[in-house]
Amino acid sequence: MGDLSTSPAAPSPARRWVADPLPLLGLLAVAGVTLGILHLSGTAIPWPVPALLAVVAAGLALSGST
């Protein structure tokens, strides 16, 4: 999908990253690690939770071809 806006301002690197899917994938990974730690410490996490996180990660991973 091509660029959809026409604003001429040069954005800061922070502004760039906020609009980028890679940090979102990082957040998802952090959520997975947190849930994994909870799971290892005795909290029951059912299989659909990591499975859903995983398919969302797979979808985000393909965002570069957007």
């Binding site: 997975g32 859903l52 398919v55 393909l62 071809s65």
Partner: protein, 184 residues
Amino acid sequence: MASVRGRAIQLRLWAAFLVGCTVGGAFTGTVLGVFSGLLSPVPAGVRAVLFGLLAVSLTVLDLRQPLLGLPQRKELIPQEVFARGLGRGGLRFGVEYGCGFRTLVPSAASYVAALFVLLAGLPLAWAVTLGAAFGASRAVAVLQYILLGRPGWQHFLSSHTRWLERSGTVVATVLLGWAVLALF
């Protein structure tokens, strides 16, 4: 997709795109779920080991190859899908994009996810749900662009696309490995 100006129009187009992506992903999930039934006679332990071996192999392949060389349709979705209007075009574009096999697949993550649905022996409803979630997540980056993007967004993204693709594969493999261990 043609350039579209105005956030309200972009959001309407994105909504159609999201619905299309979700439907496309759900379609793939349904097909994989049906085919997974054919593998149900294979013992669960064998399927789990097979998933582990294939998922790790795909991850290593993705990490080693500069460009992923797995079988895929190496064509872009044609612009003609928008010939009947933006709304219908966004929907159709989304269906083709969200199904995960009608255009380029530059990351092994989707292959690993497909293997999971195929080998885990899930109830069909879960296969459809996972497929729909995959499809919907393919629309997220476009929403990020509409709400937060600035000129040069795609150029910036393309500077680290391979990182995104490889990280996604690692994250998906680890999480699906966990799901397999919980299932079997």
